[in-house]
Each structure stands twice: as C-alpha cells, then as structure tokens.
Symmetry: C2
Subunit: 251 residues, 2 copies
Amino acid sequence: MQHLNADNMQNEANNTPLANNHISVDCVVFGFDGERLKVLLIKRMGEEQGEIFHDMKLPGSLIYMDEDLDEAAKRVLNELTGLKNVQLMQFKAFGSKDRTKDPKDIHWLERAMQLKVERIVTIAYLSVLKIDRTLSRNLDAYQAKWVALDEVKTLAFDHNLIIKEALVYIRQYVEFNPLILFELLPRKFTASQLRMLYEVIYGNSMDVRNFHKKIAMMEYVVPLDEKQQGVPHRAARYYRFDKKIYNKIRR
Amino acid sequence: MQHLNADNMQNEANNTPLANNHISVDCVVFGFDGERLKVLLIKRMGEEQGEIFHDMKLPGSLIYMDEDLDEAAKRVLNELTGLKNVQLMQFKAFGSKDRTKDPKDIHWLERAMQLKVERIVTIAYLSVLKIDRTLSRNLDAYQAKWVALDEVKTLAFDHNLIIKEALVYIRQYVEFNPLILFELLPRKFTASQLRMLYEVIYGNSMDVRNFHKKIAMMEYVVPLDEKQQGVPHRAARYYRFDKKIYNKIRR
C-alpha cells in the first residue's frame, strides 16, 4: 500500500504524535443590565491537593459522540443554565495546547467525567440575551449567575481569553449587523441606555450630543410618546427597535 | 468523591458516549485570476473496493499533539502546497457527525495515517492570495492546483460545504474590511477587474456606470497615469490600492 499513499500521505514518514483530543463546547452569553455588560457563568467546585476550591467557568462541556457541534452547544447551555431557545453563533475554536496546562483544571475534569483527559479543543459559541428574560428563570438552581465583565475573576481553563475574544467578535459583528444590540436592550429603552451599550461594547465613551445625532440617523430606532416615570432626573424618552424598518433598510 | 462532583458534574448519570475525536485543520485559499475566483486544491488518490480513484480535497490534515491550531494550519498548508508566510484566518469549525459518513473518506484517511479514525472535527482556515505570486512556485510538485469555483467537483469529506461557507464568511468580512479585496488583485488593476472581483464574491452583476461612481468614492483606490497596452479593446486605466490612505480613513 505504501506506493499508493506516497502522493497523498500527509503524515509522511513523520512520527510526530497526532493529537487525540476531546472536543468541548463553551457558551459565552452576554446580557446588558442598562449600565453594564454581563456574562453568564456557572460555579465550579473542585479539590486540589486536598483543598476544596470554588471558582467559576463558562457553561460548557464535552460533546457526545452522536451530536453535532451546534446541538451540543444547545444541550450543554440548557443543562447548565436552564436556558432554552437561545440563538447561539459559533465564533471561534480554541485549541492551544496551553489551555489545559493548569493541573487543577485537568483534575477537576477527569474527576467529573471519569476519564483520562489530555488535550481539549473547545468550540466557542456566543449569544446575547435580554437579561430580564433570563433572570426570570430560576438560574440559581443551576448555579448559573450573571457577572459584570469588570468583576470576572480568574476562570477555569482559558475562559477569560474566550470572553475577551467574544467581545472582539461582537464589536466586528455589530458593524454589519447592529440588530444584536437591540437583542440586548429591553423592549423600551432610553437613548442613554443605547449609548451605554455602545460604550461597554467598544470600551470607550461617546459624546452625548453626537450620539443623539447617530440615533436620529437610525431609522429603525423609533421614538415613543412615552417617557420614564418616577426617576429623580429629567424623564427621558423611550425608544423602540423596529425590526420591519431594519430589515427593509438592510436589504 | 461523588458528593463533591454532584454540583459540577456535566455528564450527570448519563452514559452517552463522549466523542473522542481527531482534530484536523483545512485551508481554503482563494485567488482571483482577473475573471474568476479560484480555490487551491490538492489531488487525492485512494483505493475503494479494489478500484483506484482520483479526486480532490482542500489542503488539510490532522494536527499534532504538540502544536496549536494556527501552527497546524500553517504547517499543513506549507507541507501540501509549498506556500509560506500566508496569513490564515480561522473562520469556522466543522464537526457534524455526518462529515465522515462516506466510507471512502475514512478508508483513505485510515490508510494514510495508519490509525483508526472515528470522528473528525476540522477547524477551517481562510486566506486570499495574489494568484500570480503562488503560481510562480512549483505547486505542481505538491499536487496542488488552482481550480475555478464553478469547476469544483465533489470533493472529499464536506470540503464543498467548507468552501461555500468560506465564501459566506468573505462576503461579510469584506463589508467591514475591504482590504482583502486588494490582496486578491494584482498591484496594478483595472476598474473592470475590481468590479469582476466584487461580482464573483457576491455572485451577482453590477452596473458598470454605478461601479465607476463607487470607485470614485474609494479614496484609497488611486488612478495611475498608466493604461493597458496591446489590448484589442480600448485600453483601460490602471489603478492601485493605497494602504496608507486606507488605514487613515479606516481610523
């Protein structure tokens, strides 16, 4: 058979060990509380060198033999947070050999899965949700929790990096698909909520007057007659997102 | 240990087999010959049911234990096409369980790799190249070949799907980063070459006069004094892409 393979061999005369990997999916779910961008994390408890530790991680797990990647992401998010019918976008695979370099992570996973773990390539998914929708469910029973981005501590594996890259991806995505901004906002929102959402995503502050001009340009952001009530400052007007106008303009 | 894991177990009392996968990288390299979009493919020869067959596939292979995904993509592209210093972007992971449903593909891979193959998740990378740069190398020695997109036949595994998705990705990418268009064009190009590139990427035709207006709007597309020579039709003006102006405008 050797002569047949000669042209096609991709591991030619090379004894470098091939990676035999586990595959996982991890979900980065962002929510916006009107002021801060938050990410959905789950608690993790493990034991390392006889000490019990508590930290957090993204909702994620290994995939099953009989499921596709997208299916696995949906299943895992549901199992770990109770969330259903969430639109998840695959955004990047993380496969650095260093992502499993912390023995704490490997020991935890081997104990939970009861199998030997070497290298894990994870396929990362992204979603944005209205934060009140999800908070109305009893997430606590699943140990899931919204954590503001600036309060996220050191997470398991390379999950801090995955969140960072998810934010980079969202910034680019918003450029050609601003729709997702409105999936993060409540049905009725004020101009300053929309501005703050831009600010937290892009990580810089925007001039209030210029931002009002920007909103005026967005035909799909429709002012309502309604204003805020019972606020200590001057009541702001509410806006809503009009998906029909959006779709018409976008093509 | 069971009580410790109860909160964290992600494979809870579930005996569904976990996927134990091989990971590969596949590279979609696009080139533009002035009229058509082409993709770089390599030849594959295999044997199935006693018959030798020839077909084509994307340059790709399994990753090694000691390399990161990006490293693997660079190595594999170099080994299979001779190309070096190519900028590759990871764009999507393909992990459907159906991607290895054709026994022909599995048998071929098992013979080439001399190992048992079950499921393979592939991380797909994308690159665009000036076609003349690459053709100046002796690609033929590596069995690599540029094939026009409309002439691509049924490829190994799900490689037709991967190319299709690469094109979807490029369309979105061009929207916020038109720079890559100019990486596909020669240093000096005509307006009609740029227009045809848009047409092949978006899969529709553009009005010539409107397109000239569009070019006039692109400050970074600079007209040269030089015109085509020795052409049977009216000689067209050449343009060049000015990266300095582009970077200045883009932020």
